[in-house]
Amino acid sequence: MMYSLLFLGLTVAVYLLAKKLYVRSGKIYCSPLIITPLIMIGILLLSGTSYESYNAGGKWLSDLLQPATVAFAIPLHKNFKVLKKHAAEIAAGVLTGTVTAVLSSMLLAKWLHLSGDLATSLVPRSVTTPIAMSISQNIGGVPSITAVFVILTGILGTLMGPSVLRLFRIDNEIARGVSLGTAAHGTGTSKAFELSSLTGTISSIAMILTALFSIGLAPALLAVFLH
């Protein structure tokens, strides 16, 4: 118990330091989402601590994702007018993104000769974790491996996000929010909130729509394209 509290405190401390470093340097590879896990994995490996005993304390942080998701209601309420005005392009963008996510995961995994289990587990990778895991279960993937792919997608998406937005000149808040939220769920949304409150709200809506569209579309697309 003492041990897990110690690691919990250490995680928060390293996160706060990393956040300071990130704000000061502005370098994307200094993101707390990169530095904190790397340092903590190093500490756990050196001290011979298993992930299970780390997570006895760490899960308290993961549990806060629930009230944090509920908290999206506040920016949603504040920006509801803008959201209604742009409902059509948001829905169209997310739908296209969802289909792209499912097809690209499936076809790329096939071309790179990944095993069927891995390929299926990759399909829901741009969906927020709890829903991604249940989709994975439905289509015959391995939910816990899907969870790993979801967090990898989140980290890489947050890293790549700003460059992709620049490269394709995606410069309005609505399109940026859709892009980040559809491709990189909650972590993309936290990047979007760095850009502006409206971008973050659009991103959280995009994240939820991606999850809902994926529940319906992933099994169907999988059936059509794998047979």
Binding site: P67, L122, A175, T187
Partner: protein, 123 residues
């Protein structure tokens, strides 16, 4: 009441709210997690004026500002899968990077295009 106490109290309130919705969700038999149902519920309560913005705003903005912190334990969880990533890591990385690039570009470009068309037509 000072700001820190207010923020903490609101976070506690949001946590209790999300836990209660979570406990009730299984009875609804829909494949949507409780936290998203809780979000929709709180949104409706705010829109209808039953819950005032000032009751939840401070706690909510703290939770959203530290969103990344709550993903860190699952990011550390990747360490459990070193064997898998050693064997197929490069291919997995390629799928994730290329796929994410495609999703970002397609969804962002299309949204931006429709946005500009609507704007030009004065909608």
């Amino acid at each position: 009441m000072n700001n820190i106490a207010k923020g903490l109290l609101q976070i506690a309130g949001l946590t209790v709210f999300s836990m209660s919705v979570n406990a009730l969700t299984p009875y609804l038999h829909i494949p949507i997690p409780g936290s998203i149902i809780g979000m929709i519920l709180l949104f409706l309560l705010l829109e209808s004026g039953i819950v005032r913005l000032s009751w939840v705003e401070a706690g909510a903005s703290w939770l959203l500002a530290e969103l990344l912190l709550f993903f860190i334990p699952s990011a550390i969880g990747v360490m459990k899968y070193t064997r898998l990533l050693e064997a197929d890591g490069l291919q997995v990385l390629a799928v994730v990077v290329v796929g994410t690039f495609a999703v970002m570009a397609c969804s962002g470009v299309l949204t931006g295009a429709i946005y500009r068309i609507k704007e030009r037509r004065g909608l």
